[in-house]
């Protein structure tokens, strides 16, 4: 089996971010997507904590401690950026103004349900953040994640077993093994990571992969 590295996965997702789009990158791995968008495309990044037009990481020593993104990383404003407060930031998300969100997930179901905020471990205090607002408000939800868990159990399921973040909201899933669309029929293969076969990937996927 050929697995994309995290960097390769970010670069693969970046290919699908069109010029001129407004994009929210979830915390963690999705934040790396912006580094791989092809030259010549102007993409405007929204961070839930009150900036649209997130620019590159500042040079060391030039960080502004009160200018961060949702992952709490220091950022700079890109040309054309704007600052605003939280109620306005989430109006932007929930009101359908952002084109694309890229999120991590624990599980995605064949009907587009996503679980990415809580597990079944009740001793672990829950924390939801802005994910539930993104999935209801942003028309295109792209998920990037490993195809399976560390213990080998599948993450692409017939039904999610973890508490849901949103119902029927995912458009496409990018994993280290394949890219899959969510369709009315369920998961549909877009592409296999070069070197993998459908049978190999299906074996690591609980839900049926349609072609």
């Amino acid at each position: 089996m050929r697995n994309l590295t995290d960097t390769e996965l970010a670069a693969r997702v970046a290919q699908d971010i069109p010029d001129g789009s407004y994009v929210n990158l979830g915390i963690g791995k999705p934040t790396h997507v912006s580094g791989y968008v092809p030259e010549g495309r102007e993409v405007i990044y929204h961070a839930e904590n009150g900036i649209i037009g997130v620019g590159p990481t500042p040079a060391e020593g030039e960080e502004d401690l009160e200018l961060i993104d949702a992952s709490k990383r220091y950022v700079t404003p890109a040309p054309g950026a704007a600052y605003f407060e939280h109620a306005d930031s989430f109006a932007m998300m929930r009101g359908g103004h952002i084109d694309i969100a890229v999120l991590g997930a624990y599980q995605v179901a064949q009907n587009g349900d996503i679980a990415n905020w809580a597990t079944l471990d009740n001793t672990f205090p829950p924390a939801v953040g802005g994910a539930m607002d993104l999935v209801v408000g942003v028309p295109t939800i792209l998920v990037m994640m490993r195809h399976i868990n560390r213990d080998g159990s599948p993450k692409l399921l017939r039904e999610c077993t973890y508490p849901l973040t949103g119902l029927g909201v995912v458009s496409r899933v990018y994993t280290d093994l394949a890219v899959l669309d969510i369709t009315p029929a369920g998961f549909k293969l877009v592409e296999l990571t070069a070197g993998n076969t459908l049978d190999e990937v299906q074996a690591l996927t609980e839900a049926k992969i349609h072609t």
């Binding site: 961070a47 839930e48 904590n49 009150g50 900036i51 502004d64 401690l65 009160e66 200018l67 961060i68 993104d69 709490k72 404003p77 600052y83 605003f84 407060e85 939280h86 109620a87 930031s89 989430f90 998300m93 929930r94 809580a118 001793t123 672990f124 205090p125 829950p126 924390a127 939801v128 953040g129 802005g130 994910a131 539930m132 607002d133 209801v136 408000g137 508490p163 849901l164 973040t165 949103g166 119902l167």
Partner: protein, 221 residues
């Protein structure tokens, strides 16, 4: 009209045991660290804190948790890297936790400040966080009815303030501060620069009508 106070201690003096307190900030940005320290010193306990996060390491809200001053936290993301004091109090069952999706938290706070009695949001529909709540489906889309979230006090961090209580902010330190200013009975701002001159009316983000006292605290974290 002069809403300026000479020090942080005077600003937090009206806070009593059992108060509900909104605290601005997201991550380490826009948190009123000076006012939180003054509140710790002041000694009020049994507090409910409404804030996006529950503090990290030994800073901000984490200090209040460490010293056992909080009875309840209302947060969207209480668990952050280093949120050891939140985790410790939570695991020991020493604090009540209400988790609210971040946009719903902001909107519930706005509703309180804007005199709105409740609103329908698609956020959280069909999830665990909507359990027990009124829902309805409009044009095929599910909504959850959410209620306003009021507070006795708001502790705010701003960049500039004037004697009328007008405020503006620096970069992403704005976050929850403006919306919380409107939702509390008594809003207190620490500002990096406190001026005798009024802020340009075009550059005011939080009009002074929402702010009850302003105190200078020059440190930027």
């Amino acid at each position: 009209m002069d809403k300026r106070l000479p020090d942080l201690a005077s600003a937090v003096a009206p806070i009593t045991d059992g108060s509900v307190i909104m605290i601005g900030g997201f991550g380490s940005s826009g948190i009123p660290f000076g006012l939180i320290d003054a509140l710790l010193e002041q000694g009020a306990r049994g507090l409910t804190v409404i804030s996006n996060n529950a503090g990290a390491q030994e800073t901000g809200i984490a200090k209040l948790l460490k010293e056992g001053r909080l009875a309840k936290v209302v947060c969207s993301y209480p668990r952050s890297p280093g949120s050891i004091w939140f985790e410790r109090r939570y695991e020991a069952g020493e604090i009540e936790l209400e988790v609210v999706p971040q946009g719903t938290l902001a909107e519930r706070i706005r509703a309180a400040g804007a005199g709105i009695g409740g609103f329908l949001t698609p956020t959280g529909y069909g999830t665990l966080l909507a359990e027990g709540k009124e829902t309805r489906v409009i044009d095929g889309r599910g909504y959850v009815m959410e209620s306003p979230l009021h507070a006795d006090f708001a502790l705010l961090r701003a960049e500039n303030g004037d004697k009328w209580g007008n405020l503006n902010y620096h970069a992403t330190a704005r976050n929850f501060n403006p919306v919380m200013a409107c939702a509390a009975r008594h809003s207190i701002a620490e500002v990096r620069h406190l001026s005798d001159e009024p802020i340009d009316p075009e550059r005011v983000v939080t009009p002074g009508i929402f702010v009850h006292s302003v105190v200078e605290y020059g440190v930027r974290p």
